[in-house]
Amino acid sequence: MTTQAISNLHSVLSSGTFAVTGECGPPRGADMNVLNKKGELLRGWVDAVNVTDNQTAIVRMSSIAASKHLLDMGLEPVMQMVCRDRNRIAIQSDILGAYSLGIRNILCLSGDHQSFGSQPDAMNVFDIDSMNLIRTVKDMRDEGKDMSGFDLKEAPKMFIGAAANPFADPFEYRVLRLAKKIDAGVDFIQTQCIYNMERFREWIRLAREEGLTEKAYIMGGVTPIKTVGMAKYMKNKVAGMDIPDEIINRVAGVPKEKQTEEGLKICQETIEELKEMDGVHGVHVMAIEWEEKVADIVKGAGLRK
């Protein structure tokens, strides 16, 4: 872990404060106002905002541009970057460009498969995978070299993040993979939405045992449940999502108009538990297209006032 803080998120995490990040999906169009609106909703409640990179393979404003807009608003972006759409040349050049624009956090992802997105006919790239991407950013930062070994004029100093999904299979491999990502140079980890707390606890325990929680900041991911329908959809249709039946039953157990409230409550309880958990350094609130609730959640969990 680098000693000198690279970004605001880095300094929050390194200070030992329980960090909070939010998420902001760029618009399916060139309208900046949407971004402004979302930014305003998050401002003050989060330490950094993840800007997704054509998430679920649907064409949106580029994450670099959107990050720049948030930066201009005074928010700190975590620029997500997927391997799906760019080969290694484009990836490196985009990183350099992003850095030059003042972006300091990067989240390295493989990316959702295009078959779910708006353009399933597209050719995917996957030239390098997320592991390679992490190492590439790290090498650019720490060695000042690009992948070809060329000395960069100015090295992009990025705070490097990656995703981890404790709920995907094969489980026994999940910690191993985390270790591999950390080895590759990850500074912080944001996990997939946590609903199955039991499994998460097991995962973090294994990570602790491997000493991984000492090597990188791990932020638990949460997403508030709006309705039973949404929960069921996520359970069945969204890849890598693990929502235990108890959660669904709990939401389904209350009247329809109270379901949202119940969902938020679950979310807050999760955060409270994460706060106390050894080895968890923050929370990543993914209230996708529901940014107005982030404040409530963060407030409710007693993270920010």
Partner: protein, 222 residues
Amino acid sequence: MIVGEQKPIEEIKKMVAPYKKLLILGCGTCVKTCFAGGEDETAALASALRMAFRTEGVSIEIDEQTVERQCENEFIQEAAKKIGENDAVLSLACGAGVQAMARRFPKEPVYPGLNTTFIGVQESHGVFTEECSGCGNCELGNFGGICPVTRCSKKLLNGPCGGSQKGICEVDANTECAWQLIIDRLKTLGQLNNLRTYIPPKNWKTSNSGGPRKLVREDHII
């Protein structure tokens, strides 16, 4: 083997419509194995095409022949006589076969009757799976003999993405997660440690990113 699938008959009809005499040329190797271009398929397609044109009142003569392999000169040559007698060839071979024909018979229009789908195996009766992408740089040794380049939807070489659940790939409920297979197999083989190794970015130059590939065996050239 190379797996292929017959093109829809409408598409074939459009391709060959301008000709009065057509030779349908089957290929007796890979595409016969996947029941797309062997003797039987050639005969069936010839019959279907004749009827298709007849229903429209179009007269076309359709001849048929099947050679052992359309990618090998000696066998291609067997078709020379019939090709000479016809205006065009509808080749029921893989793309390589079609091009080999086109190359050997410069003046003869050659059309593909199949879609070449992949390099694979017959997993069980009527089920064919892709097993190799011909990336030119085989890494199977690291992965217990299961190819992530071909069988992982994202060609991930450093472990599964977060989308794998119960051994199924996020892309398609009928696709096994290659990484699940790799991990299971490495576990059986006692080689799980392989997975800790960081696999550097793959060299795609040997794959089709490097332009058309060519393999020259100097030791075979005199």
